[in-house]
Amino acid sequence: MSEVRIAVYVCHCGTNIADKVDVAGVREFARRLPGVEVARDYQYMCADPGQELLRSDIRERGINRVVVASCSPRMHEATFRQVLESAGLNGYLFEMANIREHCSWVTEESELATHKARALVAAAVKRVRFHAPLEERYVEVNQKALVVGGGIAGIEAALKIARAGKKVWLVERGPSIGGKMAGLDKTFPTLDCSACILTPKMVEAAQHPKITLLSYSEVEGVDGYVGNFQVTVRRKARYVREEDCTGCGTCYQKCPKKVPSEFDGGLSHRKAIYVPFPQAVPNVPVIDRSNCIRFQTGRCGACEKFCPRDAVDFEQEDEFLTLEVGAVIVATGYETFQPQEAPQWGWGRYENVLTARQLERLVNASGPTGGKVLLRRDGEFTDEVPKSVAVLHCIGSRDENYYPYCSRLCCMASLKLAHLIREKTGAQVYSFYIDIRSAGKGYEEFYTRVQAEGIQFIRGKGAEVLERDGQLYVHAEDTLLGAYREVPVDMVVLSTAVTPAPGAERVAQIFGIQRGQDGFFLESHPKLEPLKTATEGIYIVGCCQGPKDIPDSVAQGAGGAAEVLSLLTAGRVQISPVVAEIDAEACSGCKVCVPLCPYSAIKYDEERGACGVNEALCKGCGTCVASCPSGALSCRHFTDEQIYAQIEEVSSL
């Protein structure tokens, strides 16, 4: 090894570090450490002048190791590695000491913070001495993409990728694409009909030559890495052959078994063989096995007898496909809070207490009442129109007992429903709200319009809904009056929270996506990388990341497509050289490491009697290194020498 000449830079990060840490003191301390040639402190090391300092020192003072004491490596390690490369030094001859997140931000006392900064810098200086140059590697990117979830965000993403000429697989768990948007009536703030703007996109997605739609299918597993994923998809048995069915509907007309319709929120019935809604894409029915008389008792089979195309096939079985794709967009959407968990609002107990999603079906022309808002009695709709309706905001949202976050879209959805109810029935509509959140283009204007229509706004959360003598009452405080109110109404609409989709946990596991405290998928940076995840090549769009309205979901879908296209178009992708390596001489062939590797990157080679690492699959996690009984495994850039040097130094101060 040639003589080690280290440069140390202590960053002020404006006041972020310099307010707590005595940066000049740390600089002076670093100057005296063995091997250190240059030590400087600077306002912002990541800014151009800071980078230039580093470059000129490397060029003019023969520096061959660099330590920057600043923020987290997650933030700027890549930045500084590039600076080293641009000055002709290998990027791995660099070490970052985190004196912001790990030090100045979390330490109360200035003296202690400075002490810790000194220790971290000393450890980095000791470690960087043992760094070796490593070469980046590149792998080819498969030119196909996978979109998981056929709601509006997923459809938009798939269409954008397909229009760019790339092959897309669109996988949807349910029998039809369309997602939650398919169940809405009008959309705020322009009140255009949801189906009218969605259906053309659904049809285009199904017919586009570059898109293969796999409805009623689920992703079972993912192997591989960015650019080269192998995805296993289960095509659930529909018991109707898609290629033979014409969608004539004879089967579900003849089916004798009625089941509450999920699509209509239980307000109407579907059959055991059904399409969820008339505009479904694909327009191919599916048999709900658990409710089918034929599957449960062996008799019936009416659908099969009457199908003019012999498309019904009770023998059909689940099929498995393996897709090879370069990138994946996850758009698995959301669910809404089920208020039976919260008896105070009376849902499930009083039949005229409905959720907002149920009301969407009532006001929809293709819904159970043909678009009329009607009261129910003994489980059936009457001809009676409500004279007064209460819309309760924040049911399950902004509530630590249920979901602490603001669901973001329900204020506008509630305003829209208040407007539609008023328009259709002329009823007195009360809106019980905590705050009206109408941030969005044209949203405040819509609020103003609804106010002018004579909706009664009561600033106070609906605390409970009770029935006395056949009359529903909403109990609340009118906080602006400072008065307690019991408002009699015929119908109550609960604007329920947006929640993570059922199965989100499994999806996260399959794709290696992290979840936030609220259960939604976690983006890799809240501002600058809203669509990326912790796993490279896997992107998240739409409500699986958090509550969003339609415009935002569509924008994210398109953004996800842009991420995928920039990856695919680049054609190759850089792979980190930080991987495990095996000294075949020392390997005893015990195979302890093989099953431990979470990425299946280690294989046993019979001929050599030793294990080998597939560098394209290895993520450098180090699990195998720790497990190896003969010390044959090591991880580049995290060698024993490097780590011990760092530990020794950080603990000696």
Binding site: E400, N401, I434, K461, A463, G482, A483, Y484
Partner: protein, 203 residues
Amino acid sequence: MRAVQSQVPGRGPLPVVGEADLDGKFVVTVMELSGEDGLLGCIQCGTCTGSCQLSSWMDYTPRRIVDMVRKGLAREVLASRAIWYCASCYYCTVRCPRGIKLTEVLYALKSLALARGYAEPGAPAPAFYRTFFEVVGRYGRLYEPGLMIGVALRSGFGRLFRLAPLGLGMLRRGKMALLPERVRAVDEVRALMERVSRGLVRR
């Protein structure tokens, strides 16, 4: 609804809050005493009021009490009727979307009102709390006839006569003892109660 008592020189008859009248430390005192440190996070949604069986009898709604505490209207809060009407049903605590234990806060306000001499001498609820404390201090447990007579001495005998049939019924069914019973370790109970009272006074 009662207007907040305050005047600002040169201003009109609306209830104008004089900045000098606001006790900025009041909310801290209440949070320390009640152990509920989330008062500043109240979003004023009124779930507490809407869930309260007795809010319609109060001079200020529970939600408003929280805001008055936060803004430092100490005198108005401690002299209010609202704090004494809480029946400890805990509906507000269970339903509060910010998880605020309002029942505990109201207990703290009652204690402060007593300690600072805000409670009206003849008011029944303060009389009840005071007598309850004394009776338990004497016997180490509750003695109902003593409690009722004590309350009557403080807030008038009318109430006692109205409750007489209930008392007789309880006696007949053996739900109430005629003579007081003392617990064995009454000294320990007394020491405990004294420590609680001292803590309150010190704060």
